[in-house]
Protein backbone atom coordinates (compact mmCIF):
# COMPACT_ATOMS: atom_id res chain seq x y z
CA UNK A 1 0.00 0.00 0.00
CA UNK A 2 2.67 2.45 1.01
CA UNK A 3 4.42 1.59 -2.23
CA UNK A 4 1.55 2.93 -4.31
CA UNK A 5 1.48 6.11 -2.35
CA UNK A 6 5.18 6.59 -3.09
CA UNK A 7 4.64 5.99 -6.81
CA UNK A 8 1.99 8.70 -6.99
CA UNK A 9 4.18 11.12 -5.10
CA UNK A 10 6.98 10.48 -7.56
CA UNK A 11 4.71 11.07 -10.53
CA UNK A 12 3.45 14.34 -9.10
CA UNK A 13 7.03 15.49 -8.52
CA UNK A 14 8.03 14.66 -12.07
CA UNK A 15 5.00 16.46 -13.53
CA UNK A 16 5.85 19.48 -11.40
CA UNK A 17 9.43 19.54 -12.66
CA UNK A 18 8.28 19.23 -16.27
CA UNK A 19 5.85 22.05 -15.72
CA UNK A 20 8.60 24.29 -14.43
CA UNK A 21 10.61 23.68 -17.59
CA UNK A 22 7.74 24.14 -20.03
CA UNK A 23 6.59 27.25 -18.21
CA UNK A 24 10.06 28.75 -18.53
CA UNK A 25 10.21 27.87 -22.23
CA UNK A 26 6.80 29.39 -22.76
CA UNK A 27 7.90 32.66 -21.18
CA UNK A 28 11.12 32.75 -23.18
CA UNK A 29 9.25 32.13 -26.44
CA UNK A 30 6.69 34.78 -25.56
CA UNK A 31 9.39 37.37 -25.02
CA UNK A 32 11.07 36.44 -28.28
CA UNK A 33 7.92 36.67 -30.38
CA UNK A 34 7.78 40.41 -29.82
CA UNK A 35 11.32 40.84 -31.02
CA UNK A 36 10.87 38.56 -34.02
CA UNK A 37 7.66 40.32 -34.98
CA UNK A 38 9.36 43.68 -34.72
CA UNK A 39 12.05 42.43 -37.09
CA UNK A 40 9.43 41.31 -39.60
CA UNK A 41 7.82 44.73 -39.39
CA UNK A 42 11.16 46.54 -39.66
CA UNK A 43 12.09 44.69 -42.83
CA UNK A 44 8.79 45.76 -44.39
CA UNK A 45 9.91 49.09 -45.88
CA UNK A 46 12.87 47.45 -47.59
CA UNK A 47 10.91 44.69 -49.28
CA UNK A 48 8.17 47.16 -50.20
CA UNK A 49 10.67 49.50 -51.81
CA UNK A 50 12.33 46.65 -53.71
CA UNK A 51 9.02 45.21 -54.85
CA UNK A 52 7.87 48.60 -56.08
CA UNK A 53 11.05 49.08 -58.01
CA UNK A 54 10.95 45.63 -59.55
CA UNK A 55 7.36 46.05 -60.63
CA UNK A 56 8.25 49.47 -62.02
CA UNK A 57 10.91 47.97 -64.26
CA UNK A 58 8.71 45.02 -65.16
CA UNK A 59 5.73 47.23 -65.94
CA UNK A 60 7.28 50.27 -67.55
CA UNK A 61 9.84 48.62 -69.73
CA UNK A 62 9.71 45.71 -72.08
CA UNK A 63 12.95 44.03 -71.24
CA UNK A 64 13.08 40.30 -71.63
CA UNK A 65 15.07 39.07 -68.70
CA UNK A 66 16.19 35.54 -67.94
CA UNK A 67 14.79 35.74 -64.44
CA UNK A 68 11.32 36.83 -65.48
CA UNK A 69 10.71 34.79 -68.59
CA UNK A 70 9.07 31.44 -68.26
CA UNK A 71 11.21 28.67 -69.77
CA UNK A 72 9.56 26.65 -72.53
CA UNK A 73 9.84 23.46 -70.56
CA UNK A 74 10.56 23.04 -66.87
CA UNK A 75 12.65 19.95 -66.32
CA UNK A 76 14.06 20.44 -62.86
CA UNK A 77 12.59 22.30 -59.93
CA UNK A 78 14.16 23.21 -56.61
CA UNK A 79 12.24 23.20 -53.35
CA UNK A 80 13.67 25.18 -50.46
CA UNK A 81 12.34 24.07 -47.09
CA UNK A 82 12.56 26.40 -44.10
CA UNK A 83 12.25 24.76 -40.68
CA UNK A 84 13.64 25.54 -37.26
CA UNK A 85 16.78 24.18 -35.65
CA UNK A 86 15.02 22.84 -32.60
CA UNK A 87 11.80 21.03 -31.99
CA UNK A 88 9.30 21.49 -29.16
CA UNK A 89 7.18 23.66 -31.36
CA UNK A 90 4.11 21.56 -31.95
CA UNK A 91 3.24 20.95 -35.58
CA UNK A 92 5.57 23.72 -36.79
CA UNK A 93 8.15 21.51 -38.47
CA UNK A 94 5.97 18.57 -39.39
CA UNK A 95 3.45 20.74 -41.22
CA UNK A 96 6.22 22.32 -43.27
CA UNK A 97 7.77 18.98 -44.12
CA UNK A 98 4.37 17.61 -45.08
CA UNK A 99 3.73 20.63 -47.29
CA UNK A 100 7.14 20.21 -48.90
CA UNK A 101 6.42 16.55 -49.54
CA UNK A 102 3.08 17.32 -51.14
CA UNK A 103 4.71 19.91 -53.35
CA UNK A 104 7.44 17.47 -54.34
CA UNK A 105 4.87 14.84 -55.26
CA UNK A 106 2.94 17.38 -57.26
CA UNK A 107 5.99 18.53 -59.17
CA UNK A 108 7.08 14.97 -59.84
CA UNK A 109 3.62 14.18 -61.14
CA UNK A 110 4.12 17.01 -63.63
CA UNK A 111 7.21 15.22 -64.85
CA UNK A 112 9.76 17.49 -63.20
CA UNK A 113 12.83 16.36 -61.38
CA UNK A 114 12.95 17.81 -57.88
CA UNK A 115 15.99 18.76 -55.84
CA UNK A 116 15.87 20.04 -52.27
CA UNK A 117 17.55 22.76 -50.29
CA UNK A 118 17.12 22.66 -46.54
CA UNK A 119 17.29 25.47 -44.03
CA UNK A 120 17.26 24.52 -40.36
CA UNK A 121 18.44 21.41 -38.56
CA UNK A 122 15.02 19.76 -38.60
CA UNK A 123 14.75 19.88 -42.38
CA UNK A 124 18.28 18.57 -42.81
CA UNK A 125 17.58 15.72 -40.37
CA UNK A 126 14.38 14.85 -42.21
CA UNK A 127 16.05 14.59 -45.60
CA UNK A 128 19.08 12.75 -44.27
CA UNK A 129 16.82 10.25 -42.53
CA UNK A 130 14.95 9.59 -45.76
CA UNK A 131 18.26 9.30 -47.56
CA UNK A 132 17.32 12.04 -49.98
CA UNK A 133 20.25 14.09 -51.24
CA UNK A 134 20.36 17.79 -50.49
CA UNK A 135 21.61 20.35 -52.95
CA UNK A 136 22.34 22.78 -50.16
CA UNK A 137 21.85 23.10 -46.44
CA UNK A 138 22.10 25.82 -43.87
CA UNK A 139 21.84 25.21 -40.13
CA UNK A 140 22.46 26.96 -36.87
CA UNK A 141 20.69 30.30 -37.00
CA UNK A 142 17.06 29.61 -37.75
CA UNK A 143 16.04 31.26 -34.46
CA UNK A 144 17.65 34.55 -35.27
CA UNK A 145 18.24 34.87 -39.00
CA UNK A 146 20.64 37.46 -40.38
CA UNK A 147 20.55 39.27 -43.68
CA UNK A 148 23.91 37.71 -44.51
CA UNK A 149 22.28 34.27 -44.37
CA UNK A 150 19.55 35.41 -46.75
CA UNK A 151 22.25 36.71 -49.08
CA UNK A 152 24.07 33.41 -48.99
CA UNK A 153 20.93 31.41 -49.76
CA UNK A 154 19.96 33.85 -52.49
CA UNK A 155 23.35 33.50 -54.14
CA UNK A 156 23.24 29.70 -53.99
CA UNK A 157 19.76 29.62 -55.49
CA UNK A 158 20.56 32.14 -58.18
CA UNK A 159 23.66 30.16 -59.02
CA UNK A 160 21.80 26.93 -59.59
CA UNK A 161 19.10 28.83 -61.46
CA UNK A 162 21.56 30.37 -63.88
CA UNK A 163 23.41 27.11 -64.44
CA UNK A 164 22.64 25.09 -67.54
CA UNK A 165 20.19 22.25 -67.39
CA UNK A 166 22.93 19.76 -68.20
CA UNK A 167 25.11 20.94 -65.30
CA UNK A 168 22.33 20.40 -62.80
CA UNK A 169 20.72 23.80 -63.06
CA UNK A 170 17.09 24.30 -62.12
CA UNK A 171 14.30 26.04 -64.03
CA UNK A 172 12.03 26.77 -61.13
CA UNK A 173 12.47 27.55 -57.44
CA UNK A 174 9.83 27.19 -54.75
CA UNK A 175 10.06 28.28 -51.12
CA UNK A 176 8.14 26.47 -48.39
CA UNK A 177 7.98 28.30 -45.07
CA UNK A 178 5.72 29.02 -42.13
CA UNK A 179 4.03 32.37 -42.29
CA UNK A 180 3.28 34.17 -39.05
CA UNK A 181 -0.42 34.98 -39.21
CA UNK A 182 -1.13 35.57 -35.55
CA UNK A 183 -0.02 34.33 -32.16
CA UNK A 184 -2.35 31.38 -32.58
CA UNK A 185 -2.01 30.64 -36.28
CA UNK A 186 1.02 29.87 -38.39
CA UNK A 187 0.26 28.61 -41.85
CA UNK A 188 2.64 26.87 -44.21
CA UNK A 189 3.10 28.85 -47.38
CA UNK A 190 4.46 27.89 -50.76
CA UNK A 191 5.92 30.67 -52.83
CA UNK A 192 7.31 30.34 -56.30
CA UNK A 193 10.42 32.47 -56.21
CA UNK A 194 11.68 31.98 -59.75
CA UNK A 195 10.76 32.58 -62.50
CA UNK A 196 9.53 35.73 -60.91
CA UNK A 197 5.91 36.63 -60.50
CA UNK A 198 5.67 40.07 -59.08
CA UNK A 199 2.34 40.00 -57.38
CA UNK A 200 2.74 42.15 -54.32
CA UNK A 201 2.44 45.87 -54.66
CA UNK A 202 1.37 45.91 -58.26
CA UNK A 203 -1.36 48.44 -58.16
CA UNK A 204 -3.38 48.99 -61.26
CA UNK A 205 -2.71 52.60 -62.15
CA UNK A 206 -5.67 54.95 -61.99
CA UNK A 207 -7.22 55.65 -65.33
CA UNK A 208 -6.95 59.37 -64.82
CA UNK A 209 -3.33 59.06 -63.85
CA UNK A 210 -0.78 59.16 -66.61
CA UNK A 211 1.72 56.33 -66.35
CA UNK A 212 5.00 57.72 -65.14
CA UNK A 213 7.65 57.37 -67.73
CA UNK A 214 10.60 55.87 -65.95
CA UNK A 215 14.12 56.73 -66.70
CA UNK A 216 16.61 53.98 -65.99
CA UNK A 217 20.20 54.54 -65.21
CA UNK A 218 22.28 53.13 -66.89
CA UNK A 219 19.50 51.20 -68.71
CA UNK A 220 16.53 49.04 -67.90
CA UNK A 221 18.31 45.77 -68.41
CA UNK A 222 21.25 46.59 -66.16
CA UNK A 223 18.91 47.90 -63.50
CA UNK A 224 16.94 44.66 -63.67
CA UNK A 225 20.16 42.68 -63.50
CA UNK A 226 21.10 44.45 -60.31
CA UNK A 227 17.63 44.52 -58.82
CA UNK A 228 16.54 40.94 -59.19
CA UNK A 229 19.15 39.30 -56.96
CA UNK A 230 18.32 41.94 -54.37
CA UNK A 231 14.63 41.20 -54.75
CA UNK A 232 15.27 37.49 -54.28
CA UNK A 233 17.37 38.16 -51.19
CA UNK A 234 14.67 40.32 -49.72
CA UNK A 235 12.04 37.64 -50.35
CA UNK A 236 14.23 35.02 -48.71
CA UNK A 237 15.02 37.33 -45.80
CA UNK A 238 11.31 37.90 -45.38
CA UNK A 239 10.68 34.13 -45.41
CA UNK A 240 13.41 33.64 -42.79
CA UNK A 241 11.99 36.30 -40.50
CA UNK A 242 8.42 35.05 -40.90
CA UNK A 243 9.56 31.53 -40.16
CA UNK A 244 11.47 32.62 -37.05
CA UNK A 245 8.50 34.58 -35.71
CA UNK A 246 6.17 31.67 -36.46
CA UNK A 247 8.54 29.28 -34.68
CA UNK A 248 8.50 31.33 -31.50
CA UNK A 249 4.71 31.58 -31.62
CA UNK A 250 4.41 27.83 -32.20
CA UNK A 251 6.81 27.11 -29.33
CA UNK A 252 4.85 29.36 -27.04
CA UNK A 253 1.60 27.64 -27.96
CA UNK A 254 3.06 24.15 -27.61
CA UNK A 255 4.67 24.95 -24.26
CA UNK A 256 1.49 26.55 -22.98
CA UNK A 257 -0.50 23.40 -23.71
CA UNK A 258 2.31 21.30 -22.18
CA UNK A 259 2.11 23.36 -18.99
CA UNK A 260 -1.68 23.00 -18.96
CA UNK A 261 -1.37 19.26 -19.40
CA UNK A 262 1.16 19.06 -16.59
CA UNK A 263 -1.29 20.95 -14.39
CA UNK A 264 -3.99 18.45 -15.21
CA UNK A 265 -1.66 15.53 -14.49
CA UNK A 266 -0.74 17.02 -11.13
CA UNK A 267 -4.43 17.37 -10.18
CA UNK A 268 -5.23 13.85 -11.30
CA UNK A 269 -2.32 12.26 -9.47
CA UNK A 270 -2.99 14.26 -6.34
CA UNK A 271 -6.55 12.87 -6.30
CA UNK A 272 -5.25 9.34 -6.80
CA UNK A 273 -2.67 9.81 -4.06
CA UNK A 274 -5.31 11.04 -1.64
CA UNK A 275 -7.47 8.08 -2.55
CA UNK A 276 -4.62 5.68 -1.93
CA UNK A 277 -3.78 7.31 1.38
CA UNK A 278 -7.39 7.15 2.50
CA UNK A 279 -7.65 3.50 1.46
CA UNK A 280 -4.53 2.72 3.45
CA UNK A 281 -5.90 4.39 6.56
CA UNK A 282 -9.24 2.62 6.17
CA UNK A 283 -7.50 -0.70 5.84
CA UNK A 284 -5.36 -0.07 8.89
CA UNK A 285 -8.40 0.81 10.94
CA UNK A 286 -10.28 -2.28 9.84
CA UNK A 287 -7.21 -4.39 10.62
CA UNK A 288 -6.98 -2.95 14.14
CA UNK A 289 -10.71 -3.37 14.72
CA UNK A 290 -10.64 -6.89 13.36
CA UNK A 291 -7.57 -7.73 15.46
CA UNK A 292 -9.16 -6.34 18.64
CA UNK A 293 -12.34 -8.30 17.97
CA UNK A 294 -10.37 -11.48 17.47
CA UNK A 295 -8.44 -10.89 20.75
CA UNK A 296 -11.65 -10.14 22.70
CA UNK A 297 -13.46 -13.23 21.47
CA UNK A 298 -10.58 -15.64 22.13
Amino acid sequence: MGAQLRVYTQKIKSAQTTKKITKAMELIAASRIQKAQARVAASGPYSRAITRAVSAVATYSNVEHVLTTEPAEIKRAAVVVFTSDRGLAGAFNSQILREANDLTEELRAEGKEVIHFAYGRKAVANFTFRKQPLAGQWVGEAENPTFAAAKEIGEALLDSFLKDEADGGVDEIHLVFNRFVSMMTQTPQVLRLLPLEVVEGVEAPDKSEVLPLYEFEPDAETVLDALLPVYIESRIFNALLQSAAAKHAATQKAMKSASDNADKLITDYTRLRNNARQAEITQQISEIVGGADALASS
Binding site: A42, A53, P212, V230
Partner: protein, 87 residues
Protein backbone atom coordinates in the same frame (compact mmCIF):
# COMPACT_ATOMS: atom_id res chain seq x y z
CA UNK B 1 7.80 74.84 -53.55
CA UNK B 2 7.09 71.17 -53.34
CA UNK B 3 9.34 69.10 -51.17
CA UNK B 4 10.78 65.65 -51.62
CA UNK B 5 9.83 62.98 -49.17
CA UNK B 6 12.93 60.91 -48.73
CA UNK B 7 13.43 57.55 -47.11
CA UNK B 8 16.67 55.70 -46.60
CA UNK B 9 15.98 52.03 -46.09
CA UNK B 10 18.25 49.11 -45.25
CA UNK B 11 17.38 45.41 -45.18
CA UNK B 12 16.67 45.26 -41.49
CA UNK B 13 15.17 48.65 -40.77
CA UNK B 14 14.29 52.14 -41.95
CA UNK B 15 17.36 54.29 -41.47
CA UNK B 16 15.97 57.73 -42.02
CA UNK B 17 12.83 59.26 -43.36
CA UNK B 18 11.75 62.85 -43.75
CA UNK B 19 11.33 65.77 -46.09
CA UNK B 20 14.12 67.34 -48.03
CA UNK B 21 14.90 69.99 -50.60
CA UNK B 22 17.55 68.17 -52.54
CA UNK B 23 19.17 64.76 -52.81
CA UNK B 24 22.58 64.27 -54.35
CA UNK B 25 23.79 60.77 -55.07
CA UNK B 26 26.42 59.03 -57.12
CA UNK B 27 25.05 56.48 -59.56
CA UNK B 28 27.06 54.18 -61.78
CA UNK B 29 26.83 56.83 -64.48
CA UNK B 30 27.88 59.76 -62.38
CA UNK B 31 26.62 62.29 -59.89
CA UNK B 32 22.94 63.10 -59.93
CA UNK B 33 21.02 65.82 -58.13
CA UNK B 34 17.32 65.50 -57.52
CA UNK B 35 14.95 68.36 -56.80
CA UNK B 36 11.18 68.31 -56.42
CA UNK B 37 9.38 67.54 -59.67
CA UNK B 38 12.07 65.20 -60.98
CA UNK B 39 10.92 62.66 -63.51
CA UNK B 40 10.51 59.05 -62.34
CA UNK B 41 13.90 57.44 -62.14
CA UNK B 42 15.44 54.17 -61.14
CA UNK B 43 19.19 54.13 -60.83
CA UNK B 44 21.86 51.87 -59.46
CA UNK B 45 24.05 53.57 -56.90
CA UNK B 46 27.78 53.29 -57.07
CA UNK B 47 29.46 52.66 -53.74
CA UNK B 48 29.27 55.95 -52.07
CA UNK B 49 27.42 58.46 -50.07
CA UNK B 50 24.09 60.15 -50.59
CA UNK B 51 23.76 63.75 -49.48
CA UNK B 52 20.36 64.95 -48.42
CA UNK B 53 19.73 68.66 -47.96
CA UNK B 54 16.86 69.41 -45.64
CA UNK B 55 14.53 72.37 -46.02
CA UNK B 56 16.33 74.33 -43.34
CA UNK B 57 19.62 73.84 -45.14
CA UNK B 58 20.85 71.16 -42.79
CA UNK B 59 22.69 68.31 -44.46
CA UNK B 60 22.44 64.61 -43.84
CA UNK B 61 24.85 62.11 -45.30
CA UNK B 62 23.92 58.47 -45.73
CA UNK B 63 26.13 55.64 -46.82
CA UNK B 64 24.37 53.25 -49.18
CA UNK B 65 26.66 50.64 -50.64
CA UNK B 66 25.49 48.89 -53.75
CA UNK B 67 21.92 49.96 -53.41
CA UNK B 68 19.62 51.79 -55.72
CA UNK B 69 17.70 55.00 -55.92
CA UNK B 70 14.16 55.45 -57.05
CA UNK B 71 12.23 58.64 -57.64
CA UNK B 72 8.50 58.76 -58.19
CA UNK B 73 6.00 61.55 -57.55
CA UNK B 74 8.41 63.54 -55.41
CA UNK B 75 9.17 60.58 -53.20
CA UNK B 76 12.73 59.37 -53.18
CA UNK B 77 13.80 56.03 -51.79
CA UNK B 78 17.38 55.05 -51.28
CA UNK B 79 17.51 51.34 -50.71
CA UNK B 80 20.54 49.24 -49.89
CA UNK B 81 21.23 45.99 -48.08
CA UNK B 82 23.43 47.86 -45.67
CA UNK B 83 22.62 51.54 -45.39
CA UNK B 84 23.58 53.84 -42.55
CA UNK B 85 23.83 57.50 -41.65
CA UNK B 86 27.25 59.05 -41.48
CA UNK B 87 28.23 61.50 -38.78
Amino acid sequence: MAVLSVSVVSASHEVWTGEAKQVVARTVEGQIGILAGHEPLLAILANGEVRITLENGEKIVAQADGGFLSVEHNSVSIVAGAASLVG
